[in-house]
């Protein structure tokens, strides 16, 4: 692919890792993620209400001792809905990353290793998908496939593979020129073995680091779809849908839109810090 290679934008090497070798990003990030995961697993223990149980007599209650964060227009407990919503959003955000990861890594390896026509065809497909704004394509695809979890999986897979393909292709192009690859080639290794056993283990780290930060994008995408009514369908609690539901009461019951959003922010922050921390620890020679 023709690209402009001008002044490279890279973070300066000195700041990658703290002086003492501890990545605070990793510590804080995994703590936040750990707490959130624990909360989603122990959801029945830390909530007192069923997230879909309606109690109209208690509708739009303010935050207080009975309902910590208040209730929505159908009297459903907001705290329960947020905690159970985490189950839905996190599960989809993680699972949805598996297929693009696998497909993207394989195609990136093939494109980088073989070059020529294979490379041209794969990279043109990448260019085409990349031309669509992420949110526009996600919304259009989920709309045509019909709202719901399956459509979300298909749509994200159809789009996110391109990032891995680009990333891994670039890494493979570099790795291919290394001596250990020439040596393995000279030893008469088959292409498949060379790629799978020698090149892949050396380039996969970058994809793993990227996956963590891409999950942040997944969560934002899923929540956006939920907000637009294209995501997980009610009554299953989902953060984006909670925000959309609360929007009509924003002047009287601000908590209904504010808290689900904060839940998204904290989760995304945990994931981002974890991803940065992972990069600190895993990225070689930094």
């Amino acid at each position: 692919m023709t690209t402009l290679t001008g002044v490279a934008v890279e973070e300066s090497k000195t700041e990658r890792r703290g002086r003492r070798g501890i990545s605070w990003n990793l510590v804080v990030g995994s703590t936040i993620l750990g707490v959130i995961l624990l909360m989603t697993i122990c959801a029945p223990l830390i909530t007192h209400y069923d997230p879909v149980h309606q109690n109209v007599a208690d509708a739009l209650a303010s935050p207080g001792s009975r309902h910590w964060l208040g209730t929505d227009q159908l009297g459903r407990d907001l705290w329960s809905r947020i905690v159970y919503g985490a189950r839905v959003d996190l599960k989809i955000a993680f699972v949805v990353e598996i297929f693009p990861f696998a497909i993207g890594v394989v195609l990136g390896c093939l494109a980088g290793f073989y070059g020529g026509w294979v490379d041209i065809i794969i990279m043109r497909c990448v260019d085409i998908v990349m031309a669509f704004p992420f949110y526009v394509l996600i919304i259009a695809l989920v709309f045509t496939l019909g709202a719901g979890a399956l459509s979300i999986y298909i749509a994200f897979t159809a789009i996110s593979w391109i990032w891995y393909t680009r990333l891994i292709r670039g890494e493979v192009l570099v790795a291919k020129r290394q001596e250990y690859v020439s040596a393995a080639k000279a030893a008469g290794l088959k292409d498949l073995r060379l790629m799978g056993r020698h090149i892949l283990p050396n380039v996969i780290t970058q994809a793993i680091i990227f996956a963590m930060s891409d999950i942040v994008l997944n969560i934002l995408g899923i929540v956006t779809l939920g907000f637009l009514g294209l995501g997980i369908q009610p009554p299953t609690p989902e953060w984006g849908e909670l925000i959309a539901d609360g929007q009509q009461f924003v002047t009287t019951n601000w908590e209904l839109t504010t808290f689900p959003g904060i839940a998204v922010c904290i989760t995304a922050l945990g994931l981002s810090l974890f991803a940065d921390g992972l990069a600190d620890v895993l990225r070689p020679s930094a």
């Binding site: 690209t3 402009l4 290679t5 260019d127 669509f132 526009v136 919304i139 925000i243």
Partner: protein, 313 residues
């Protein structure tokens, strides 16, 4: 490869990508489980009404013929006909384009106004308290869903203190600037961390450069070095970052337009989705993708003009 042949090569690539985009948008309708005409008309539609719509969309023909029809219309500037509005998609899109372009331009300006001073502070005070605070802030704001940020801004600045209008497009230039401030800011909050990161990194690189040391040794004031030496060199890579993120930027307008009830392309798309108006969804998706392709081309050309050191490979 010289500059001219580089631009020619990029144009050639662009044609392939544009072709691919039309194929993808064309096949979108065929991805629908079930019959798009029946989905639009509802379950109680008569068979003849469905057949009529099939004929209107050309769905009754074989696939290659359908694509030929689709492309033939496209070349003549016909993006299809909206079922909901009973008017041409091209007309609808042209009507709503100004609002979206305004929002895009405005949010780019606001993002730069946020990112450049913060990046300069962050890079010059590296590892200081302000640097850490700015970096943490950018990580947090990257993870905020922009529609939620929009609602929060409405709540804080619109509803409570009535500082800004909470919806609509306004009249005249001043009116646009006034009523699009909150939507522009919403997008800027999402985009500026990306710019900030790259600008900070490239400023740190430039700060280490020999010519900065030379300038310092000549006794040029710090502020002047920062603006005319460091920033000028560091801002070029940021143009690429801005170009790369234009698709993110454009995607962001869709949801933000809904939150602020702006009469733009994104809102047109979302309303069409509610009405199951396939031709409009297709046409808007196509226009968005073409916009991204054009901006990316422009970025590459501008970049190659701005930085004489750039190499083409």
């Amino acid at each position: 490869m010289n500059r001219f042949s580089f631009i020619l090569h990029r144009l050639g690539q662009m044609v392939i990508v544009l072709f691919g985009i039309t194929v993808m948008v064309f096949f979108m309708v065929h991805l629908t489980p079930g019959d798009p005409a029946r989905i639009y008309l509802g379950t109680r539609a008569t068979d003849s009404a469905v057949a009529n719509l099939h004929h209107q969309w050309g769905l009754d023909r074989p696939l290659p013929a359908q694509y030929e029809l689709f492309m033939g219309r496209l070349v003549r500037g016909d993006l299809g006909t909206s079922l909901l509005y009973q008017s041409s998609d091209a007309r609808l899109i042209l009507d709503r384009l100004p609002s979206t372009l305004w929002l895009l331009g405005y949010s780019v300006v606001l993002s730069l106004l946020i990112a450049v001073p913060l990046a300069a502070t962050s890079a010059t005070k590296k590892d200081g308290l302000r640097d850490h605070a700015i970096r943490l802030g950018s990580v947090i704001s990257l993870g905020m869903p922009s529609f939620w940020v929009g609602i929060m801004l409405i709540l804080l600045l619109g509803v409570d203190i009535h500082a800004f209008p909470v919806g609509g497009y306004g009249n005249g230039v001043i009116g646009h600037l006034w009523s699009m401030f909150l939507p522009g800011l919403t997008i800027a909050i999402a985009v500026s961390p990306l710019l900030l990161r790259s600008l900070r990194a490239s400023m740190l690189n430039v700060l280490d450069a020999d010519f900065v040391a030379t300038a310092r040794s000549k006794g040029i004031p710090r502020r002047r070095i920062l603006v005319s030496h460091v920033l000028r060199n560091a801002i070029i890579p940021m143009i690429t970052v801005l170009g790369l993120n234009v698709s993110f930027l454009i995607g962001g307008t869709v949801v933000v337009e809904k939150v602020f009830a702006l009469p733009g392309l994104g809102n047109l798309m979302l309303q069409a989705i509610l009405a199951r108006d396939f031709p409009v969804v297709q046409a808007v998706t196509l226009v968005f993708a073409v916009m991204v392709v054009l901006v990316n081309l422009m970025t590459d050309v501008v970049y190659s003009l701005l930085d004489p050191r750039v190499s083409f490979d």
